[in-house]
Symmetry: C2
Subunit: 237 residues, 2 copies
DNA sequence: CGCCGTGTTGACTATTCTCAACCCAGGTGG
DNA sequence: CCACCTGGGTTGAGAATAGTCAACACGGCG
């Protein structure tokens, strides 16, 4: 199996075999994690950065009143906390949805990589830019899209990202989030999320049963939310 | 006057006098812009990066149906489009609120800076991290805070950022955004924005008249929205 | 068997939006 | 100097979107 981390980084800047090896050997430890287990807490100090190799995870913040807002869904190849190599303390929580395997890369190894291989700096920076572009698109949706469009947009985004990670066949993929999880992504109540999903099903746009998401009308779903994938791709347009 | 750009960057990584000079001499051109003038459009290709030296500006995206979502408010020292030095095309619009002066830094000069002065890489990366942290906080607010809390949070954030830029005295600053602009930041209608502002005034939390914002109950305003400034500061906690 | 997590439903409430009107200050042209 | 226009702010009424509360269904699992 190709290392998802290398695969992701080469998506942003073509890596030489030597550079790919350098990335792989920067990994100090590989860990497996249970579902719904916290990887990092807000305020933690770490001497390493964590990258997701297998499974689904998220970054989130909890509100003092008890709510939760998910600010990123992490897929294989994503960094859980790249910012930690500059910032001393983690400013949000990261937790798994499913069982996961993660790679731990010591800060020193990151600095070493960056010094020896300028192209890797570029790739790392790119990866944070895409992170930010996704977050921006979520903010736009939270501010200006209806609940229905927001959900449709999220499903489109997930499919495209999972396709890029080689984790989707045709227009189907695994989506191991409960309706409560989806609510915390979209800023909705669980009841409303449930009704929105039913509406998408009623229009024959999707089939979602447990883990399994199938987008049965890809064109229709994209039109509904005016999905434009360009923000997910390095310079497609 | 200290160059706001240098001031901002030294906030993130102490720059030697030589590095400060290097930053200043990377600026190829300084321009002045009218109020409500677009600086960059989505899709533009540029060979330089733009930094704001004076004035207030914003990044925004327009929806196909006609809405607008502002995704960042830019103050002196902020980059309008730092991502452009990696990404070929601009993925959002940037426009001024007030008359502004901006510095144009050619991509080549950025690369030169980064090569000669590793600490500047650090400072630039930091600046994008803070950008992202602000955006994340906005997303959290859009998802999980009431309109009232969102507005309060924005005003707290603006005051702290303007203080850091030396543009606030005590708890007062200039806020040259119309209620329609504020609405496009907070994801509200202008009517609701108006009513929320009245509510803040009624509780004697703020005085806002035209441009002039005075926060008359700083503690109360922070409590109302549970404002915690740590996301704005390099490793305050 | 009974419990728990997840999904579903109905009834009611709250928040926010839309539409339409109106006010007011500043600037412009007659 | 005044009439008019315009952009921003304000108000009221009614509608739409989304939240809350409470109950129930269903499957997996101890």
């Amino acid at each position: 199996m190709v290392n998802p981390l290398v695969q992701r980084l080469s998506h942003f800047a073509a890596l030489s075999p030597e550079e790919a090896r350098a990335v792989e050997s920067a990994v100090a430890k590989v860990k497996t994690l249970d579902p719904h287990q916290d990887i990092i807490h807000r305020g933690d100090i770490r001497s390493f950065v964590t990258a997701l190799l297998e499974g689904y995870a998220c970054r989130y913040t909890t509100m003092p009143e008890g709510g939760r807002q998910i600010t990123a869904i992490l897929l294989p190849g994503d960094f859980c906390n790249l910012s930690l190599f500059l910032r001393r303390r983690m400013d949000q929580n990261v937790s798994t949805f499913t069982a996961c395997t993660v790679a731990e890369i010591p800060h020193a190894a990151i600095f070493g990589l960056m010094e020896a291989h300028p192209r890797i700096v570029r790739a790392l920076w790119w990866s944070t830019l895409v992170d930010e572009a996704i977050l921006r698109e979520w903010a736009i949706g939270l501010g200006r899209r209806s609940a229905l469009q927001r959900m449709a947009h999220l499903l489109c985004e997930m499919l495209v990202r999972l396709q890029a990670a080689g984790l989707a066949v045709d227009h189907s993929c695994r989506l191991p989030l409960t309706q409560a999880d989806l609510s915390d992504v979209l800023g909705l109540s669980t009841v409303h999320t449930n009704r929105i999903l039913q509406e998408l099903r009623r229009h024959d746009l999707i089939v979602l049963k447990g883990d399994a998401l199938a987008i049965t009308d890809w064109e229709g779903l994209q039109e509904l939310c005016e999905f434009n994938r360009s923000y997910l791709d390095p310079d497609r347009s």
